[in-house]
Symmetry: C2
Subunit: 420 residues, 2 copies
Amino acid sequence: VAALPLLLHQYIVNQPHHPGVVSPDQQRHACAPQPGTSGAAARAPSTGKPSFTNAFDIRSVGCSGDPTMFEAFWRETGDAAELVIPGWQTMSYFSDVGNVCWFMEPLFDQQVRRLHRTVGNAAVDGYHVLVGTGSTQLFMAALYALSPADADQPTSVVSTAPYYSSYPAVTDFLRSGLFRWAGDANSFVGDSYIELVCSPNNPDGAIRDAVLSSGAGKAVHDLAYYWPQYTPITRRADHDIMLFTVSKSTGHAGTRIGWALVKDREVARRMTKFVELNTIGVSKDSQLRAAKVLGAVSDGYDVGGGGASRHRLFDFGRRKMVERWRMLREAAAASGAFSLPAETSGQCNFANETAANNPAFAWLRCDREDVEDCAGFLRGHKILTRSGNQFGADPRYVRVSMLDRDDAYDIFISRLASLK
Amino acid sequence: VAALPLLLHQYIVNQPHHPGVVSPDQQRHACAPQPGTSGAAARAPSTGKPSFTNAFDIRSVGCSGDPTMFEAFWRETGDAAELVIPGWQTMSYFSDVGNVCWFMEPLFDQQVRRLHRTVGNAAVDGYHVLVGTGSTQLFMAALYALSPADADQPTSVVSTAPYYSSYPAVTDFLRSGLFRWAGDANSFVGDSYIELVCSPNNPDGAIRDAVLSSGAGKAVHDLAYYWPQYTPITRRADHDIMLFTVSKSTGHAGTRIGWALVKDREVARRMTKFVELNTIGVSKDSQLRAAKVLGAVSDGYDVGGGGASRHRLFDFGRRKMVERWRMLREAAAASGAFSLPAETSGQCNFANETAANNPAFAWLRCDREDVEDCAGFLRGHKILTRSGNQFGADPRYVRVSMLDRDDAYDIFISRLASLK
Ligand SMILES: Cc1ncc(COP(=O)(O)O)c(C=O)c1O
Ligand SMILES: Cc1ncc(COP(=O)(O)O)c(C=O)c1O
């Protein structure tokens, strides 16, 4: 298994659209209900995938990383997180012409810094904040900023397997001459590279450090899941480039807002330039909504100000995740056919207590001798998952989302428990 | 002059960051006031570039295409175009899983179709609507969708000079192996290409058709300015791929919403895939705001429904543009040092009368014998413009925005009139 992903990806690199690997497109459509629901709700804002009252949807359990679990929390907060936008507001391309990131709303910058100070998960002093259309756009921006423009060869992009399935797909889809996917970081040989460090890791929840170190190498730390609902906050991270997203911190994936904390001004400038050329900045409406939502989260813990609200996102999130992981471990034990990563824990500086690691995804291994394709096996039992081979790993593994709505999660658990 | 742009661009194609051509980054920063204003308004949403009460800003007249002229209209409409978003709304990555464009809000799709039916500027029946983070993202999506994935060579991307300065920059910044800028369409030799047809054209306002035709060639029609405030609506456009944006139709550039009308389902699918890989979809908040705003525009003309509001965007816009073009022609005549494209007009099927072409940019030529660099000359007189050479044209030309706020436009006019 160890050598296979690398071989596979060396093959992929020269191919335009990754034959042999299911693209995120196919993945996502595999996750989605069947066509036929289009336009159903044309008079109202969308609600994401249809709920389980619709029979056709019963199959779509647990596949995508859609964070709809958090909806229940935000329904409770009332108008504390409600945004009103008058017709004439923020019409300009520009937001803050004196900032490196000239299209960033100052309110957003402010609330990002405030939340990191509240949680203590990342340093912000001396950092540039950059806003992106999701952290996915900032991931591409980082590749662009860190690849030398005058190099003969594209810079190699690597990550320890199992790695987030979008990394290879997003790196290679335009066949850029600046950067190119080069597979598992552990098998990489060379001096010049960009290492993606995802911690806690998607798909397996592992706490990670960079495995490579060379003067010419660079690291991008994807800290999408470094929040108290998922993992103990053991230190204030202070890497050169750190990526975050509201998709995973607050659950607002539809708002498409991510941010980067960047130490070096020139890197910040080049990342900003990427976003400028790619989309001429980032939706102000989304930035203002994200600022509102992040502000509401900080308000929940603002004890110093005396105004701490009773709505505390990380308490809600941790309670949910602890409960769901307990259910999952019980279901796996009841079934006997699956194993899960061992539970780890640590001292959480935010909660001021020992807390377990409760990853946003379950990295499930099928232990049955006769099953080599775990995703296929589960699909046959109406559980949709992403196969391990999409993450550069063994297809005996699958990734399951832990962030779906309660009804979907409950169905997943009861189906899993009944499998022998 | 005719051969120069092509030579220049053949040179550029092999260079990562276009030495010798001012990048949009530099352009935009040249347009912006000096640093030092950062964070000034951190308690409120941004208002774009500071107004002219600030002395440092006096220089930034007329440079970018920021459509702040329309703010005055939207301040009049009251809550007809106001959007309220509860904290729990549209949190999912998904909007409409049965649609090719699975991340598009059905309300947005609906209002786009309604507005085109109201205005009569483009066919929508039998078309897929796709939403993008500005039409800039959909421009890249079209290049991705139209470039054969298995070609040995990148597909050539061309447009008749003078062309929108972003086309070469956006095409080449990632040095894609799929597509590559190849300069002026009129000098192109070959069978396989993507021709960008911008009509009315940025920068010169010309009404354009494709100049190339071959079985293997493709065209993308950028109709950002094909709206009644800028030009007579002479026909219902029905090209294979048509791009539009709220940035120019309603003035909401900060919302970052564009759309494509696409005939072919496979092309629509590949464009959607681009947006999925690039940013996992498009802000729902922005889509809902755009739907609200487009709906308010249609409401202004909904005579059949009996509910036509008294706020009519295209009437406002046309009145403004007519007035501004009159002022500009008078100022150019008073100065004697500049010439402008001749005024053209046509029968507007929307307004049901003859209407002039009133472009969103003035394509100004400096007629003084001693001035070869018109942008430099104007900069010396505190008028910032984009030089013709950024559009593949003669630096005796400059592009000036006609969509700035009244105060900025008035200063520009008085400065121009006083130049001899
Ligand atoms: C590790 C990681 N990074 C980034 C993302 C994408 O986040 P965004 O929605 O901000 O683009 C995800 C989403 O699943 C993720 O798991
Ligand atoms: C011709 C043309 N197309 C596209 C755009 C970009 O529009 P958007 O703001 O939707 O990305 C512009 C903006 O100036 C333009 O002039």
